[in-house]
Amino acid sequence: MNWSDVGDAMFGGLADYGDILALVQNSIWAGAVLGLVGGLIGVFVMQRDMAFAVHGISELSFAGAAAALLFGYDVVTGSIVGSLVAAALIGWLGARARDRNSIIGVLMPFGLGLGILFLSLYDGRSANRFSLLTGQIVSVQNAQLGWLIAISAFVLVALLLIWRPLRFDSLDPQSAAARGVPTTAVSLGFMLLLGLAVAVAVHIIGALLVMALVVTPAAAAARVTSGTLALPLLSAGFGVVAAVGGILLAVMGTLPVSPYITTLSFAIYLVCRIVGGRRGRVTRLAR
């Protein structure tokens, strides 16, 4: 592969960019909503130290989607079922961080193995196979995109409604319980929302790369701000920029979307680290 091939792969579609954008319009919307939701829920993933759980949920989500593919069910439904089962198991069995990590460590390879088994038994279009692991949002059908957007919107609204009790529980579960916060219900609710968000992310950037939209934006934002409002807003903004920017860049050529999203997400994180480091400590940007 020489440089002109690379150029073609990256920018070959530039001549028809307007037409391509019209075609992938719904994908861009789905990316935007997921970026927003991923950025917001990522704030709590960080506060509750659950990055590993995100990874565990995404592998079971992948297994669910692969099973749905093999048995001829709807792939989005399959990924949601897998995700929710994982989220419920982790939430139920792993109340304490140490238990949680070992349970995730047990679930994750099992889920990934099941998924690979289902995929190798599946004899349909091979393009579908790896898109679950590494994502290809532009190949998702419009009807499914509608579902992905609707699920993301639901997660967004539900997350806002439980925002304050969830924040209290994330910081200090004992005091939250003392103040009458139903901590068990709030934790479980959060796990289910996380499960839904991860299931959506699996279709957009793939099971292996979910963390680029659910963990990285929040981690980046936390480097430069600790404001209650600034942190989630910045994190959500980073998520949207990475997701939408990744799709916009990818459709210029023939390369998959995911590497663009993960690279953008990582670049934002790097910049935030440098900016945050230069300030010497975490400083608040705005109220």
Binding site: Q47, L161, R164, A177, R179, V181, T225, T228, V282
Partner: protein
């Protein structure tokens, strides 16, 4: 004096107690941590709860908050029965709760005022829009605990004492008439211990009853009205001078215990740990302070 709960006689003019415990008992598996506990906390009274680790002090506070069931007995907090028959809400917003000063991680994405704000609206579901009245309340609490200068800093970079002052602000959000403190002074330096004790004492002077679990009586010795000393499945209740004596604690532990006075500090020597006493191991000086 043995394990009977000797409530200090209260004059009939006193207003009704903010906390009433009757015949309370706690079991952990086969083991009875304590039983037959009667305790009244009057408005404006500060009671310290002492005893070796594992003696069920924290569980007592959690039971008062309705977070954990007693094995037997009843609790009335602020005139309301706590989870009668195991029903009703867990937690109690009318009761203040001040936890141990666990330092928050450096990168905690929260400013000082947000820690206080959790006490004001942290329990509320619905869109997270801060109401003006809530913001004013948070400002008032920040002033009340002397946290104005660091309220807008990220909590992670604040000292343990500053964080604990903010937690006091959080605990006082609803001006609770009953305040429960669980080791609020642990891991604080002397100056900050005194600052936090002063805040607790100030609130007590507004007429609130305070139950304070501690392993070191010295920082609060001058402020305490009564002491509830739990050890060896039994307990003693009375004024500090009556409870913190060598004969009383020796009788309570069933082993030789010495209360020594070093300057204005009290040191309890020879008190076995709760678990240890059941396995008949004795560690002298294990619990250096009482």
């Amino acid at each position: 004096m043995t394990d009977a709960a000797e409530t200090v006689p209260q004059s009939p003019a006193l207003p009704s107690p903010v906390l009433q415990i009757r015949g309370a008992g706690l079991q952990r598996g086969e083991r009875t941590l304590w039983s037959g506990l009667d305790l009244d906390v009057a408005p404006g009274e500060l009671i310290a709860v002492l005893g070796p680790s594992g003696s069920g002090k924290t569980t007592l506070l959690r039971a008062i908050l309705g977070l954990e069931p007693l094995s037997e007995g009843t609790i009335m907090a602020l005139g309301v029965p706590v989870r009668p028959g195991g029903r009703g809400r867990k937690g109690n917003r009318r009761v203040g709760y001040l936890p141990q000063a666990r330092p928050l991680p450096r990168d905690t994405a929260m400013r000082g005022r947000d820690l206080v704000a959790l006490g004001v609206d942290g329990h509320r579901f619905g869109l997270p829009v801060t109401r003006r009245v809530d913001r004013d309340r948070v400002d008032a609490l920040i002033d009340a605990v002397g946290a104005r200068t660091f309220a807008d800093e990220p909590v992670g970079i604040l000292s343990g004492g500053e964080q604990q002052r903010l937690r006091v602000g959080q605990a006082l959000a609803d001006d609770p008439r009953l305040l429960l403190c669980d080791e609020p002074l642990t891991s604080l330096d002397l100056a900050n211990q005194q600052a936090v004790v002063r805040l607790i004492d100030d609130h007590r002077r507004t007429g609130a009853g305070v139950l304070l679990v501690t392993h070191d009586i010295n920082p609060v010795l001058g402020k305490v009205d009564r002491i509830l000393y739990i050890a060896n499945g039994r307990f003693m209740l009375g004024r500090p001078a009556d409870v913190l004596t060598s004969p009383v604690l020796t009788d309570l532990y069933g082993a030789p215990v010495f209360v020594l006075r070093a300057g204005d500090r009290l040191v309890v020597v020879g008190a076995p740990d709760a678990e240890d006493s059941h396995h008949h191991h004795h560690h002298d000086d294990h619990e250096a302070h009482a």
